[in-house]
Amino acid sequence: MWDQITLLFKDYTFQIVALGTGFLGLLSGAIGTYATLKKESLLGDALSHSALPGIGIGFLIIQSKELTGLLIGATISGLIATAIIQLMSKKSSVKFDSALSLVLSSFFGLGLVIMTHIQGSPNAQQAGLDSFIFGQASAMLVRDVRLIAIIGTIIFLLVIVFWKEFKLFAFDSDFGRTLGFSGKFIEFLMSTMIVLTIILGLESVGVILVSALLIGPSVAARQWSNKLGVVLPLAGAIGFVSGISGTIISSIGNRIPTGPSIVVVLSIFVIFSLFFSPERGMIVKRSIHKKQQKNFMKQIKSLEKEHGK
């Protein structure tokens, strides 16, 4: 087993893929923290599903599987879907989550229609459809990893430069505006970062699971600290480790897809954190609750004695 892993780390293809999924985990973990804090984690899910028709149309226009072109298409259709969701939930009595579900499935349906039409047969596998639906990390190339690294670096620079402003607006945007910061600009920057992160994840993790990478790490990290300055980097680290471990498991194991394998590793982090966090974990809370109950019963009993029941 250990030999297998050391051998694996010497393998060039594996190095590329692991680096790619690791970076991706790091990026989505850290940026996803803002998405969960702003309660927009499910919007990310809708956005990723809605990217599918953009990938199909992108392919129809450029007639090749050149990644950048497809990702531009994905971004455009994801943004259109988000705009429709916002329009429906703000301009009518339609509830946000109804709009979300409708747009998510209609766009995903449109994606399938376009992809099956491209193929001319109902079998999507040959059209390379699967690589974007469930992700195909093993197909990652050096230039894909470079793309993730470049955009990731830019995003991290933004986080460092606008740290104070992002924190302020994620916490209390109304108050931020009274301080004279441009709310529109900050919100635009934050949404753009989230959208770019999702789009970058489409190739390796796929449209269905990419939102999990956004949500999981920050939920796990939140259990270990009350400070954003710790939660965000920790979420990045959890994403990074999940990305690499998931890739190792899928490389060693027989027929284990990478995306789902990353999600399972990540979920173990989440479950562990929810149960065993020393301050707010479910187990600690339960024992505190029991202790309180015991003390309470003791008090009642001593009261009863005092009053000479």
Binding site: F175, L179, N226
Partner: protein, 251 residues
């Protein structure tokens, strides 16, 4: 000598979606006074505050702000206005400590990019002492009672070291201890010639707490010193049922 004004509002009309909430309102807030804005639900109290804070653009009318001698636009004096929103709808589980939140009050002075320094932290800590919560600075905000939360938000506003303070129902649902701490602090501010404007819901305590009162119900009905204006007749006029012109309630 005429009293100085802090905010002067001329013929202000505010509407949501073409439904008027405030109608042709003119009123002035006096400098260094503790002013209560009083009126029934949906009278436009919060709307008035939010318009002053430039959240809502009025349909017509002007607001003049006086921080120095000269009248200014909102943009020029925004760092001199502090705001405590009505029972904040923030996410209480946000990874932030009490000190973090109070420190946010300094962000306006820092401007873009700059990080808070020791001086800002000292100010934030000082304000926590003022609201009686110095030992809470490392607590996560969800571990606070309602009154404590309100005090933290007051401390955040105090950290802004502003000239004008606007509070939207700061006493709603807080304990007596918090109520006294808040009112003492606000009085202290007015002694330093700061202007304090409070949306207030409890008519019983207006006379005890405030210098000035403004009766509002879609327009300003009466305003002036509590001693002369806070009369039974004026209260009845403001709260008369048929005053509400059947328009939708203020949100």
């Amino acid at each position: 000598m005429e009293e100085q004004k802090a905010i002067d509002i001329h013929q202000l009309t505010v509407a949501y979606d073409a439904k008027p909430v405030l109608w042709n309102t003119s009123v002035a807030f006096k400098k260094g006074k503790l002013t209560a804005i009083v009126g029934p639900n949906g009278a436009g109290k919060s709307t008035l505050i939010k318009t002053i804070l430039d959240f809502i653009k009025p349909v017509t009318g002007q607001i003049e702000y006086f921080v120095g001698k000269q009248s200014s636009e909102y943009k020029e004096i925004k760092n001199h206005i502090a705001y405590v929103p009505q029972n904040s709808t923030v996410d209480w589980d946000f990874p932030a400590t009490v000190l973090d939140v109070v420190l946010m009050g300094r962000y306006g002075h820092l401007g873009w990019f700059k990080r808070p320094r020791k001086k800002d932290k000292d100010i934030a800590k000082e304000m926590l002492v003022k609201v009686g919560m110095p030992s809470f600075s490392n607590r996560q905000i969800s571990q606070l009672s309602g009154g404590q939360r309100q005090r933290v938000f007051l401390a955040r506003a105090l950290a802004q070291e502003a000239e004008i303070y606007m509070l939207d129902e700061p006493l709603a649902g807080v304990d007596m201890k918090t109520e006294h701490i808040i009112m003492d602090l606000l009085k202290e501010l007015t002694k330093k010639n700061k202007t304090v404007i409070v949306v207030h819901h409890d008519l019983q305590t207006v006379e005890e707490y405030f210098d000035e009162v403004i009766f509002i119900n879609q327009e300003v009905l009466n305003s002036g010193p509590v001693s002369s204006v806070f009369t039974k007749a004026n209260i009845e006029e403001t709260y008369r049922q048929d005053r509400n012109l059947g328009e939708e309630e203020d949100t």
